[in-house]
């Protein structure tokens, strides 16, 4: 019976949250006065979805917040649906959103009327890594051999599977193509990272740039082989994942002569026009969540780069990366008309 009451409560709360536009705001030590609307600008099952639902779990389990946290997927238009919703909740501190690279790529690629400045940056929770994966049965053992194989093969014969179109996976693919020139790869977009990993196991594509968490299970099972990590330095996780390898044993792409780096933001933003004490509340909340053992395990499972940032430092980082994405996408010809 009690479960049912809670269900009804939570359901009613979900409605209440979006109906009310403003809540009373206290000057000091602000706390939410109604349920928090936690938007995921992506579909179910992906990396952002997993992290948001995991955070919801950690916050609920450890009673870090008095009000319930309600997670909603708004992935329409490559996440534009979610961003536009938060943009429209100006001044209301009960709406937060988890972002991935589509914070930058979606407005640039689709031309929807949105830019990151329309949101209030809260904190960077972590950076998600990218790894070059091939099927375990593939002949190339290193990234170098892989690049050589693409070069030696027919143009466009080599298939790279990735999540979405004109987004991070394809940006990395275009960067790799600088090394395989004049040969190009064929980029095949799929709905989600899990599907990409499975397609690679089934040999329907030749390689992928899956995030660690999307491919780790198939790596453990001996189906996929990591070639290199798209980061400046190796992973810090030294516990063995497979019988012989830990995340830290994967060479960086730089080490093997593939000069491409890319990491993806996993950060929290909130509605525009909120007060500093609102932002401070969420920074504190997520700091508490990140101090739990559950979160540490989650970070290690997904081999995340644990960089925490908030305040002006974070805003600066977002600014720099927005510019970086603009340049990358311009070079690749991914910009929407008028951008």
């Amino acid at each position: 019976m009690s479960t049912r009451t809670k269900l009804l409560h939570a359901g009613g709360a979900a409605v209440a949250v979006t109906l009310a536009l403003t809540g009373p705001v206290h000057a000091q030590a602000w706390e939410p006065t109604k349920p928090i609307n936690f938007v995921i600008p992506a579909g179910t099952g992906g990396g952002a979805d997993q992290m948001a639902r995991f955070l919801q779990g950690v916050i609920t389990k450890n009673s870090l917040m008095k009000q319930p946290l309600i997670v909603v997927n708004k992935g329409g238009g490559a996440g534009a649906e979610g961003f536009l919703e938060i943009k429209g909740k100006s001044g209301d501190p009960h709406h937060i959103i988890i972002t991935l690279s589509n914070l930058f790529t979606t407005p640039l690629g689709t031309g929807v009327p949105f830019k990151w400045q329309d949101l209030t940056p809260v904190a960077m929770l972590a950076l998600d890594q990218f790894v070059l994966w091939v099927n375990e049965e593939a002949p190339y053992k290193t990234a170098k051999e892989y690049i050589e194989a693409v070069k030696a093969g027919d143009d466009k014969k080599f298939k790279m599977g990735g999540t979405g179109s004109k987004q991070e996976d394809q940006i990395i693919t275009v960067a790799l193509e600088k090394l395989t020139a004049p040969k190009k790869m064929t980029y095949v977009p799929y709905g989600g990272g899990g599907a990409v990993a499975t397609q690679l196991v089934g040999k329907h594509v030749d390689s992928s740039v899956n995030n660690p968490i999307e491919a780790v299970s198939n790596w453990k099972a001996g189906k996929l082989r990591p070639l290199c990590l798209f980061d400046g330095k190796r992973s810090v996780y030294t516990a063995k994942v497979t019988a012989t390898m830990a995340w830290s044993d994967i060479p960086t792409c730089k080490e093997v002569g593939v000069n491409t780096e890319y990491q993806m933001l996993r950060g929290i933003f909130m509605s525009p026009g909120v007060k500093p004490e609102h932002v401070a509340y969420y920074v504190d909340l997520f700091k508490k969540a990140m101090a739990t053992a559950d979160w540490k395990r989650f970070m290690e499972d997904g081999a995340f780069n644990q960089t925490f940032m908030a305040g002006p430092e974070f805003t600066k980082w977002v600014e720099v990366n927005d510019k970086l994405h603009y340049d990358l996408m311009k070079e690749a010809g991914f910009l929407a008309p008028g951008k």
């Binding site: 979900a14 639902r53 064929t186 299970s217």
Partner: protein, 613 residues
């Protein structure tokens, strides 16, 4: 090999069969049924809302609770489909085609029992499959690339084509409108927006649920209002022996059940999913059934086929989720999120690293389904009694539930307006004789089919040969093509055989449809009773040597006549003289049928004449 699985399963039962877990099972089923009844809330939202409650439980108990909510929601979806013509989930759409007409005829209890029992049978067969074939099945799923996915969707569309009852052009128009609506939003292949015309509301495209709640739910209320503000199922009797009676009836449809189980399991394993499975199963059952022409008017077989297949597919789809880590449905995705919080990593290693959990889950599938069947079957008379509530009370309630459901999908008021627009559209479609099913099918599967098609062509650099490049994809495509051109093939076979006296095909079809001896000139190009041929194919059928007895129209007339007789007898039993006017819905229906009958006869006569001259 098999022994090892049985031992593991027994171990699983010992994990699942604690009083605490059993209690969770029944709570889960009850919650699930409630969630399933509310359209829009749906299994995914229900599981998401309840997920945090399970964090304090051991993982096995938590997954038992959550998966039982999932089963309950699956059972619950059938209730609104049958009673109010509102499918809560994509795979319940096909259940409305015959389930709702049955309810309108006062046979809601039968329809519900058939639906629940079929779901159970489908799910149970699939669980057995999971138990013994898990590793093999996981391997098959890996064989599915974009071309194979497209082939499965193609097969679904093809097996569905014969379903339109009216003009085949109307079916085509309806389907194309569905494709157009389905393509609004982000084009996943190029990452650009299309057909949004700068409107932010259209970014996310047209959600299936909003379309269906409007087209079916609101549309139904509008037509009920027109026909006198009452539900035709109002005279539903509450029969407590309905369950047993229906079960006896169901035994006669064992062939349909087995076929639907096979379709469902196959579609679940090859990750086609429950929705294509239910449509495909319905289409194929219609084609092979002796009563194919009665499909859509309240044929119990039309409930059995989609329900069995949907649940066989829904259950066997859990397997790819566990072994590959790909969620087969939004609900499965939320469950996946849950797994991670409990520290379980879905994927090939789950079966090795978390034996307790996996076998506990599989055991709970057996137990949860049995618990679910008991719960819902005992409630059948209760559910059926809902239809006795006066329309003036229930209609506003349904309207509110529909509106809340549409709102819940994306917490957007725009969707509620959209739902109303779809409602008016559904009503207009009904009035103009445009079928809704192809529209819905195209909205649900159109973009997935497009995605598979374009991904495959990207890989092959434009070569269509990819769709026939290996035995797996070639056989699925081949099967699809055969189903698509089945009416034409039969017609050609008939023509070829026509030179021989009394061709086998004519005799066979004549016998199957129970037709009276075909009058000369009986050189037939017969079409099987279940097939409504598209116009292009239908044209040759009304050519000179058309057998009057075996033509689709003559068959339809016979059905109408049979129905007229049936209604007359029932009216007589109820003490109503059918000639006495139009007080009752049945009398009105009879009049309409008779009019249609006269008109059809005239048409047929003209066609025969035109052929002879």
């Amino acid at each position: 090999m098999a022994l090892e699985e049985i031992v593991s399963l027994m171990h699983g039962f010992s994990v699942a069969l604690t009083p605490f877990n059993l209690a969770l099972m029944f709570i889960g089923i009850l919650l699930g049924v409630i969630i399933g009844v509310l359209p829009g809330l749906g299994g995914a939202n229900g599981v998401a809302i309840l997920l945090p409650l399970t964090f304090t439980m051991p993982p096995t108990s938590a997954i038992i609770l959550l998966s039982c909510i999932y089963w309950g929601a699956l059972f619950g979806g059938a209730i609104t489909s049958i009673l109010f013509n509102i499918p809560g989930e994509p795979w319940s759409v096909a259940t409305t085609f015959d389930g709702h007409p049955m309810a309108q005829k006062g046979r809601a209890d039968e329809a519900l029992t058939a639906a629940f029992t079929s779901s159970f049978v489908g799910a149970f067969v699939a669980v057995i499959l999971i138990t013994f074939l898990a590793p093999l099945v996981a391997k098959l799923a890996l064989k599915f690339g974009p071309a194979e996915f497209f082939a499965v969707f193609f097969l679904t569309f093809a097996s569905f084509i014969g379903m339109g009852k009216g003009s085949p052009w109307k079916t085509l128009a309806s389907m194309c409108l569905g494709f157009a609506l389905g393509s609004v939003g982000l084009d996943k292949m190029t990452g650009t927006l299309r057909m949004t015309f700068g409107h932010e509301e259209l970014l996310k495209g047209f959600d299936f649920l909003i379309a269906v709640i409007g087209l079916f739910g609101i549309g139904e209320i509008l037509s009920s209002m027109e026909s006198g503000l009452k539900f035709q199922g109002a005279q539903a009797k509450i029969r407590f022996d309905a369950v047993l009676k229906t079960w006896r009836k169901l035994l006669g449809y064992w062939a349909t059940s087995i076929r639907s189980c096979i379709i469902g399991c196959w579609m679940g394993i090859t990750p086609g999913g429950a929705t294509p499975a239910s449509f495909m199963s319905y289409g194929i059952a219609k084609r092979f059934s002796k009563n194919g022409d009665n499909f859509g008017k309240g044929e119990i077989e039309g409930v059995i086929a989609p329900e069995t297949a949907a649940h066989a597919a829904g259950t066997s789809a859990l397997l790819p989720m566990l072994t590959l880590g790909i969620p087969g449905s939004p609900t499965a995705a939320v469950l996946l999120g849950g797994l991670m919080i409990w520290g379980l990593q879905p994927g090939p290693m789950l079966f090795v690293e978390q034996k307790d959990f996996v076998w506990g889950l599989i055991a709970s599938m057996y137990l949860g389904n049995i618990a679910g069947l008991i719960v819902v079957l005992t409630c059948v008379p209760l559910f059926a009694a809902i239809l006795r509530v006066p329309f003036s009370i229930i209609a506003p309630v349904i309207l509110v539930i529909c509106a809340v459901g549409a709102y819940t999908v994306a917490n957007a008021m725009f969707d509620v307006w959209l739902m109303l627009v779809f409602g008016v559209m559904g009503y207009a479609f009904q009035k103009l004789g445009y079928p809704l099913a192809p529209l819905v099918l195209a909205i649900v599967l159109g973009d997935k089919a497009e995605e598979g098609f374009r991904q495959a062509l990207l890989g092959s650099q434009g070569g269509l040969g990819i769709f026939f490049s290996n035995p797996l994809v070639a056989s699925i495509m081949g099967l699809g093509l055969i189903l698509l051109f089945w009416p034409l093939l039969v017609a050609m076979k008939g023509r070829l055989g026509a030179s021989a006296p009394a061709s086998l095909a004519t005799a066979a079809v004549g016998a199957a449809t129970g037709s009276v001896a075909a009058p000369p000139p009986a050189i037939a190009s017969p079409s099987p009773p279940a097939v409504h041929t598209p116009a292009v194919l239908a044209v040759p059928l009304i050519k000179p040597q058309q057998s009057e007895a075996a033509s689709p129209m003559a068959e339809r007339i016979r059905v109408l006549e049979r129905e007229n007789d049936d209604i007359r007898t029932r009216l007589k039993k109820a003490g109503i003289d059918p000639s006495l006017g139009t007080d009752t819905d049945e009398a009105r229906r009879l009049q309409r049928l008779e009019l249609e009958n006269v008109w059809l006869k005239k048409l047929l006569a003209e066609a025969v004449l035109a052929g002879k001259s």
